[in-house]
Amino acid sequence: MNIDRPELLDRLASEYVVGTLQGGARRRFQRLLRRDASVQRAVQSWERRLTPLAAQLSAPMPSARVWTGIQARLRPASPEEVRASGGWLARFIGWRIAGALAAGVVLGVALMQVLPIAQTERVAVAPGRTLPEIYAGFLQDAQGPVMLISSPRHGKTVDVKLVRSVTAGPGRVLELWALFPDKPPLPLGVVPASGKGQVALTASAEQLLASANELAVSIERPNGPPPERPSGSFILRGPCAKFW
């Protein structure tokens, strides 16, 4: 299947979404869709255009056995499935921590209990599977989890993923902070306006976060030097955990 020509890719995506792509062509296209970002974008564009046509379809509430059946099939995804879904970190943290957070248990403590602690560079999570060493934070507001933060231990970037949208408001930016038990908060950088992406650090995560016990986000003015202290209260905060 040749998807290098944009007009052909667009046509295949349109036929996939409208439903007329079938048989081997449909299966080949689905394989490409799983791993190629340009194919994903083309399909999403067509889903945005066509899917609203289906909004007027409705049926009576399904019978109770449908929900019972769904519940029976919910289980933690296997590492392979999580990897394939692209959301391994969210799922990884989610499954182990959601319960602990609800019970008010500190994230770091919970992680120590469920993760095998190894002195090696990488942590084994299953036979033959490893995770990179990272600092991770799980920032919440009063309504619950909002932002997932991860930073390679020896890298100089922080990855941000939103699980719920958050905005700084017009003319303001979201500033990420590290909090310490024994010294003032340290500004780490501005979270991209979309709330998702990377924050560049001035030093390695290990140098900046080794003694941090929490990560937090405040609303600040853009431009100018990094603030010395948050200008208001933190709108999001959560424990800073080490994954190794």
Binding site: G23, S58, P76
Partner: protein, 202 residues
């Protein structure tokens, strides 16, 4: 009365929490969306028992892919409906050989003038409220702008899941003609909708 934006934000919140393993939030998501997604699946499969089986697969897929849902890339209802359509089409295609002889599309009316189901504008479903009404109105408007044959072929494929071959036999037209209707219809639809987008942005 819940506004579209509030409904959408609520769906996003539930998906976000489901991504973290929150089954209660996932159940709320199910309660709010099951009727709409079953409507989509049932229209394609036309067998209530089969549709409910596939609906289970839809929500298991929603649960598993919730961590990968990207807020900035698609509206939550579009994302959910696309998962439902894909699961139903997969089910339909896996047995399309056996059912080829049984095709009786619901959307086809006598004069063949339009295969679009009538919107229930007087009492919009809660799901219709959750979806951005503007987007639905725009695609429907652009559908009406197509030639009748193109519109009918696209609607039969989209709502009823007819393949090219089924369309050709159903509409008593050569395969190539039907394929061209779909292809040109989709091209025109895209142009029409992209113009609409620019006007909205202005």
């Amino acid at each position: 009365m819940t506004s579209d934006a509030e409904g959408s934000a609520r769906l996003k919140r539930w998906i976000g929490r489901a991504a973290l393993g929150d089954q209660a939030a996932f159940q709320q998501l199910y309660q709010a969306t099951a009727r709409c997604l079953l409507g989509i699946v049932l229209r394609l499969l036309r067998d209530p028992a089969w549709a409910e089986e596939v609906l289970q697969e839809v929500y298991v897929a929603v649960w598993r892919s919730a961590p990968a849902y990207a807020v900035e890339r698609s509206q939550p209802m579009t994302w959910l409906m696309a998962i439902a359509r894909n699961k139903a089409l997969d089910a339909l295609r896996s047995t399309s050989a056996e059912r080829a002889a049984l095709v009786q599309p619901a959307a086809f009316d006598e004069d063949g003038e339009t295969a679009l189901p009538e919107a229930v504008d007087e009492s919009p479903s809660p799901l219709l409220q959750l979806l951005e009404g503007a987007q639905a109105a725009r695609v429907k408007g652009c559908m009406q702008g197509l030639e009748a044959a193109q519109r009918q072929a696209i609607a039969l494929a989209f709502y009823d899941g007819l393949t090219h071959a089924e369309l050709a036999s159903h509409l008593r037209q050569p395969l190539g003609t039907v394929k061209a209707w779909i292809r040109r219809g989709l091209e025109r639809l895209k142009k029409c909708m992209d113009v609409g987008l620019e006007e909205t942005a202005r």
